[in-house]
């Protein structure tokens, strides 16, 4: 049921990707995401696919698990595809139904958009699967440290992010529990029209909000009790240090980005319309 939502979850495994410095993973993911938007031909996507499958293999996260993370974006994916398919102008007309026209350009954009979105989600969820929320925050904090000069509250933002990430599974579990409790009391969550369905969410949302606020206030209390006072003068038990494998990861990603972008943009290679 609700346990199936995997976005933002950590998947424990013993792999080189898990051991990488979080900064490396964040930067590499960023490079990878940017590269996805620079391709013009199918060749670039092929290279991206190779790179992505290589990373997934290395990370030892089951492929099935990553695919599960795509479930929540299916709707978004469909809408994107349909809009691009019918509303893009240009190119030859392939099919025409009444006023709706599917052109080669439309099909091309729709397919590329879908692939891009899927790669995007898979790539970024690979990062969260292999990095604990704590490591992720450390990484973000370190990467954004230069912003401290302009008095941006980098530490606070990083802390808020890590708490938010940490709370995703907790709140999911809580939702699951509350749903079960209300189903046990005969609540009907599935049937009825949209208004009835929205109404049937009240018995779940109210307790969920109450518990979220309770948890937030408990956490604030616990942080206060341990003298948390923000980032100033705070040291780390395990400071981030770059190692050889991190340099190697940077190198591989750089090689990937350069080849993929160059090949994807400038080598003209076309299969049919793509």
């Amino acid at each position: 049921m609700i346990r199936d939502i995997t976005i933002g979850q950590y998947y424990p495994a013993n792999s080189i990707v898990h051991r990488l410095d979080p900064r490396v993973k964040i930067m590499c993911t960023l490079f990878y995401l940017i590269s996805l938007f620079l391709f013009k031909s199918v060749l670039g996507y092929a290279i991206a696919l190779l790179f992505l499958s290589f990373c997934i293999r290395l990370s030892k996260v089951p492929f099935k698990f990553i695919v599960k993370g795509l479930k929540p974006i299916i709707m978004l994916l469909m809408i994107t595809v349909i809009f691009n398919l019918f509303l893009t102008v240009g190119g030859d007309t392939l099919i025409q139904i009444w006023k709706l026209r599917v052109t080669t350009e439309g099909l091309r954009t729709a397919v590329f958009m879908a692939v891009r979105l899927i790669f995007l989600i898979m790539g970024s969820s690979l990062m969260t699967f292999t990095t604990t929320p704590n490591a992720l925050t450390d990484g973000i904090e370190k990467l954004l440290a230069p912003l401290n000069i302009v008095k941006a509250p980098v530490h606070e933002v990083a802390m808020m992010m890590s708490i938010a990430l940490r709370f995703i599974p907790i709140l999911l579990e809580e939702t699951d529990k509350i749903m079960k409790a209300q189903i046990a009391r005969g609540a009907d969550l599935e049937s009825g029209n949209i208004i009835q369905k929205a109404k049937s969410m009240i018995p779940i949302l109210v307790p969920l909000f109450v518990s979220a606020f309770r948890r937030a206030s408990d956490l604030a209390m616990a942080m206060e009790a341990r003298c948390y006072h923000g980032g100033e003068g705070r040291t780390k038990m395990k400071p981030l240090v770059y190692r050889k494998r991190d340099a190697a990861a940077y190198a591989i990603t750089l090689v990937y980005t350069v080849t993929a972008v160059l090949v994807g943009r400038y080598v003209s290679f076309h299969i049919w319309i793509f």
Partner: protein
């Protein structure tokens, strides 16, 4: 008229790194009207077990029968089952959501499709059964004390008139007095009606006083299943798996070892006191006789 489990297995998150066998090959029969205690350590599978009894989670393999009918069969009225087998979750006060206590208790009966007057009547009756003070009926459930919230939540399930009542750790987080109050009320309920009551707990002390049958869960399977006296006679094995028999059991064994002929199967303080008294009297008579 019973719940029957046959070779029930349940695995959480199969085929992932979080895979965990929560129940393995559970076979149980729960006849109508029994007062049962389910005991076990955190993570022993007791909460998972009870969620099978009203079909909230579906066994990975195996069958659950309610009154002889397989609840996994196509078209089985699960909603009906859930109103017959009432389940009170751990910390049930976390499920309260209405603007007044009375309305919240009405939620269950209203879901059963009963008319409003009937719902209110049942809610009042259920609140009375759990000893909830009438002056708070129209208060927001969020303004109550912990113990009162718990009562209101239990009443929310009772108002559905279940034939089987399952309570998961109903006393967790309550003070000793609140704990005794709630347990006594549950025991009284069981005596007054013909309800089956299943009480889940990790405290032997809580359970020993009330139940007629104890099911001990350990590492996802049933370790012991029998009358409290029988189960507690395995007190050394219970200790080995991190559970303890009631304190009385230890005292009785210590007394026996020091030469006082007491009844080892006493499980409550009253029984123990009677047994000690009897054996002391007997010993007294014997000494008088020899003199």
């Amino acid at each position: 008229m019973s719940i029957k489990l046959e070779h029930v297995n349940y695995i959480y998150s199969p085929e992932t790194a979080y895979e965990k066998q929560a129940l393995s090959d559970i076979c149980l029969e729960i006849p109508q009207g029994q007062f049962i205690g389910v005991i076990g350590h955190t993570g022993s599978g007791k909460s998972t077990l009870i969620q099978h009894l009203n079909g909230l989670i579906r066994a990975t393999s195996g069958v659950v029968y309610y009154e002889g009918r397989n609840i996994y069969e196509d078209g089985y009225p699960l909603k009906e089952l859930r109103s017959q087998v009432g389940l009170v979750f751990q910390y049930p006060e976390h499920q309260l959501f209405e603007i007044s206590v009375l309305k919240d208790v009405c939620f269950g009966p209203a879901n059963q499709g009963l008319p409003e007057e009937e719902c209110v009547a049942r809610a009042r009756e259920a609140l009375e059964m759990v000893g909830f003070p009438e002056k708070y009926y129209d208060q927001s459930p969020f303004e109550l004390s912990g113990g009162q919230k718990r009562r209101a939540a239990i009443a929310g399930v009772l108002a559905m008139h279940p034939r089987v009542l399952i309570l998961d750790e109903p006393t967790a987080g309550l003070d000793p007095r609140g704990r005794d109050d709630i347990l006594n009320q549950i025991a009284r309920l069981h005596q007054q009606s013909e309800m089956t009551v299943i009480l889940v707990s990790h405290s032997m002390e809580d359970i020993a006083k009330y139940v007629e049958r104890i099911i001990v869960m350990n590492k996802s399977s049933v370790l012991y299943d029998g009358k409290p006296k029988e189960v507690f006679s395995h007190y050394q094995e219970l200790e080995a798996v991190g559970l303890a028999a009631p304190q009385v059991t230890y005292i009785m064994h210590a007394l026996k070892e020091s030469g006082i002929a007491v009844d080892l199967s006493a499980t409550t303080v009253m029984e123990a006191a009677d047994s000690i008294e009897a054996s002391l009297k007997k010993a007294g008579k014997e000494t008088v006789g020899t003199v």
